[in-house]
Symmetry: C2
Subunit: 191 residues, 2 copies
Amino acid sequence: MTTTQTKKQQIYEAAARLFRDKGYSATSMRHLAEAVALKASSLYNHIGSKEELLRDICFENAHKYLSGLQAIAMTRDSNLDKIKSLIDLHLDMATEDITSVTAFNDEWRHLSEPWLSDFIQLRKDYEKGFLEILEAGMNAGEIHRADAHTLLYTILSSIRWLYDWRKPEKPMDTERIKQQISNFLVRGLVN
Amino acid sequence: MTTTQTKKQQIYEAAARLFRDKGYSATSMRHLAEAVALKASSLYNHIGSKEELLRDICFENAHKYLSGLQAIAMTRDSNLDKIKSLIDLHLDMATEDITSVTAFNDEWRHLSEPWLSDFIQLRKDYEKGFLEILEAGMNAGEIHRADAHTLLYTILSSIRWLYDWRKPEKPMDTERIKQQISNFLVRGLVN
DNA sequence: CCTACCGATCGGTAGG
DNA sequence: CCTACCGATCGGTAGG
């Protein structure tokens, strides 16, 4: 039982890494099996299908981002502080969860219906919440007035390189780099 | 003769679009053939292989970025103005060339050796030139002091969303959005 | 530019 | 968890 659990987790982690490094389509079940010291057919004792792996990874990350957003939105912080918290959320996700950036930004495209539509809806919900905070910040004069969509996508994209840069052997630098990215973006936003 | 030229161009443009939308691995030669109203085998009268398509697209873009960088580096502009020009280069490439962003950032991973190493070298050359300008700008007090690699990757990534956002039916907005992205990034950089 | 076809590999199943 | 195997699809070639 614990062995099964562990093996399933191993498969998910190996899949996450392969999807990130090679992309979903270029990752084969035989390659994934090799990564966890199994034959391809044995994977199906632990998982349902290749797409189920992608699906679980995409929706887990989507819900993490959404619950993070909701927690930030309901605080009594200033809009600028909320935006700082959202930037930190993305920086933390990018450095802590190996899959969050590519799953949320790219690989979800390979989902099939009806999950594709479900995921796009979750992503739109997330963007809507983020946009509302950006617009409230502009109306309050806390941040520079600009097209909120442009700011949103620029912020989200700007963090996308972190996932494949991060050197595991230099964990000490991670906090400094996150701080510098945050400073850069916040300086660009404030009025 | 002109027909052959045109068909080859059609194939490259369709391939570029498919690689961008679905990724290199998920794009099949049969699907590409369908996009240009041909059978898969007929593609090979115009092109050498699937990887040749990717290779040409990747290296053409790499050389465009490098020659753009070299032209900017040899001007007598301030370092900040050079950085602004580099940002404009990326914004122009993202909105004018359908493939530049994904090829330069993602799909090159699917190249095989020796071209993979060649491409990585070109990319490193580009990064080196960009980094030198960023560091000169810091030393001259023109831009805020920070880790130059962090600034570089954040700038490059921040433009990555433009390629799949751009609505062809709203070309008028493109210039305004490019301007706003540039302003956002420059405000984050200046001292 | 097509039909016909190649060997390789794909995701996944049967059966033990 | 494995061996053996399935039909489908892959990139690409032969031959006309």
